[in-house]
């Protein structure tokens, strides 16, 4: 009887897992059914599509690099030290996950209409409706997640390694560089790739700050929205396929990296 109930649970739970797979496969195949061979490559290699791909990849790369510069030390501090406000910072990292990207974009937009924001726009850099606005939108969306993922990597590494290194003559920076950084490198790499993929797919904040200007602020998700709004189904399908391909490639790559993670 006991075995029977275990078997029952096994079957039920596996069928739900299989349902999840089927659900997404049906959606993907229904997308593929819209692809027509000749038009697909015409649209794919068109100047406008190539611009969107380049713009998305470049903006996401810059956003990820900027977030990395801040995330690495911030994640280390959150993982290793106790300090005033730590819990609040830890909480705020979840902000991009709980606030809608459109709302996040709107918050940034409102910022640029207050005195400080206006001064920045006029004297340092124009962000609204520009390439820099796209970077800022993506940066805002991924920073918290990047910090969280890198922090998790540092959390897995015992501080004893660095402590021992310090008793052998390494100062705190040398111990970090020679011990924690290499031990955490795979987690950092995985965090950056996933953040990059999230930045490439970012839509809500980007459209709110940078708008929908063809060949100017037309990232891949914005381009999909623009094509759908004029009922260009073929164009939208090509762009969605590209995004899907990037996402799956990234996931595969990250799994490869994480799969060979050293046991620190």
């Amino acid at each position: 009887m006991k075995n029977g109930s275990k078997l029952g649970l096994r079957k039920v739970s596996i069928s739900f897992a299989v349902f999840t797979l089927i659900f997404y496969l049906v959606l993907i195949f229904s997308l593929l059914s819209f692809i027509s061979g000749d038009r697909f490559f015409d649209i794919l290699f068109s100047e406008r599509t190539m611009f969107s791909i380049k713009l998305s990849i470049t903006a996401a790369f810059v956003a990820v690099m900027l977030s990395f510069i801040i995330a690495l030390p911030a994640a280390y501090a959150l993982s290793r030290y106790e300090f005033a406000g730590k819990k609040f910072i830890d909480l705020i990292l979840e902000l991009p996950m709980i606030v809608s990207p459109a709302a996040l974009g709107a918050i940034i937009l409102f910022f640029f209409y207050n005195n400080m924001g206006t001064w920045i726009q006029e004297n340092i850099q124009q962000f609204v409706f520009t390439f820099y606005g796209i970077i800022l939108a993506q940066f805002t969306t991924i920073l918290g997640i990047t910090i969280r993922m890198i922090k998790n990597g540092f959390d897995e590494i015992s501080p004893r390694y660095e402590n021992t290194a310090r008793t052998m003559g390494a100062n705190s920076f040398q111990a970090f560089r020679s011990i924690s950084l290499p031990l955490c490198s795979k987690s950092i790499f995985a965090a950056l790739i996933l953040s990059w993929a999230k930045a490439v797919g970012e839509f809500g904040a980007t459209i709110t700050i940078a708008g929908t200007m063809a060949m100017r602020t037309e990232t891949l998700p914005v381009a999909i929205y623009m094509r759908l709004s004029v009922a260009d189904i073929d164009g939208a399908v090509v762009l969605i396929t590209i995004l899907l391909g990037i996402g799956l490639l990234v996931l595969f790559f990250v799994r490869q990296v994480i799969g060979g993670k050293s046991s620190a």
């Binding site: 004893r160 402590n163 021992t164 008793t167 100062n171 290499p182």
Partner: protein, 365 residues
């Protein structure tokens, strides 16, 4: 030489108070105590990994209390060894050579110690592919390679098989003498402490109860707490009945007998606790002449437990009226196993005067 003066520190609700000890060049000082008594906390503080609240730490008479760990010239081997998992054995050992410090060992010296510890054949192996004993040896050599003459070792052999422990004790001891190292070692293993120590400090609840040579601490424990940490003892409460020259006649109700014990501090009516090692009590062979023996009682064997090198007898203590009152544990080391004991057998036991430790029981009025 490492010297600690009145060191105080705390971690959460636990604090360590007024720790003072010294480890001369070429000596091994053992911090002995149970788990949760602050041994690791002390080592981490000396290594500079925790802040202190009071006191000072001197290495070769230089005050290093406020120095960063890398400027203290003290190597620390934590209990889990902390071998760097992304570096192979050789890179672990030579890690300290990346940082040019005055006291770094030369490659020749490190090569010698690698040979001495028999690590030549595994230098290019990953840390993950080492046995427990190999990992311990790599950790010790790595600590040595840093050139620091003071080593802090936190239960470095606790996870090892007994025979491997014995081998490594010997290697560590030889290494210490050869290179004149000062070692502060933390352990709760009595045999390890006795094997390696020159001096021992007994730690209990963040306070050092006794410091001295290993002979002092093991054979002249200064308190009941020290006896509990340094061996297996029987304990009996008693009351001083009479003073006879420099001896005291003490009644132990649970032994059902009075014992005559050498002591010149106790006064009549003082309440005392007697401690005697389980291995110090003698079982008198039947038929022996008891007239020359003092402090003997008759017991009955309740149970017998055998280990590889001694027999443990649990005895019930009988008075003249055969009222069984309490248990007495006796360890009989009889390598040839010539003495046979049986359950329910009556035996006479003797309490050698020099093996009895008497402490005034301040909890009694």
């Amino acid at each position: 030489m490492l010297r600690i003066n009145n060191l105080c520190m705390s971690a959460g609700n636990f604090s360590v108070n007024n720790i003072s000890l010294s480890v001369p060049d070429g000596c091994c000082h053992v911090l002995l105590g149970g788990t949760g008594n602050g041994k690791t906390l002390i080592l981490e503080t000396i290594a500079g990994l925790r802040p202190i609240t009071n006191g000072e730490i001197l290495n070769d008479e230089h005050n290093i209390t406020s120095e960063a760990p890398e400027n203290r010239f003290i190597s620390y081997v934590p209990q889990d060894l902390a071998l760097f998992p992304h570096l192979n054995v050789e890179k672990n050992i030579f890690y300290s050579q990346r940082f040019k410090k005055n006291q770094s060992r030369t490659s020749k010296e490190i090569g010698e110690i690698i040979e001495f510890m028999q690590l030549e054949s595994i230098l290019h192996r990953s840390i993950h592919n080492l046995s427990g004993g190999e990992q311990q040896r790599v950790a010790l050599v790595r600590a040595f390679a840093s050139g620091n003459k003071v080593l802090l070792l936190d239960e470095p052999f606790s996870a090892l098989h007994f025979t491997m422990k014995r081998t490594l004790w010997g290697l560590l001891s030889d290494m210490q003498k050869k290179y004149d190292l000062s070692i502060l070692l933390v352990t709760h293993d009595l045999e390890e402490a006795f094997f390696l120590a020159d001096d021992i400090s007994v730690l209990h609840q963040g306070i050092i109860l006794q410091t001295g040579t290993k002979e002092d601490v093991f054979y002249h424990p200064n308190s009941i707490e020290v006896t509990k940490i340094t061996g297996h003892y029987n304990y009996f409460s008693g009351k001083v009945l009479d003073v006879i020259d420099n001896h005291r006649l003490i009644n132990f109700v649970k032994l059902g007998n009075n014992l005559r014990i050498k002591n010149n501090r106790l006064a009549p009516c003082d309440q005392v606790i007697m401690a005697i090692r389980t291995s110090s009590i003698e079982i008198i062979p039947s038929g022996s002449d008891l007239s020359n023996l003092s402090n003997t009682i008759v017991c009955e064997i309740k149970s017998i437990y055998e280990t590889s090198h001694y027999q443990q007898l649990v005895l019930t203590i009988s008075q003249q009226m055969d009222k069984f009152q309490d248990y007495l544990v006796v360890d009989v080391y009889d390598k040839r196993n010539t003495r046979k004991f049986e359950v329910s057998q009556k035996v006479t036991v003797s309490f050698p005067e020099d093996a009895i430790f008497i402490y005034k029981d301040d909890n009694c009025r």
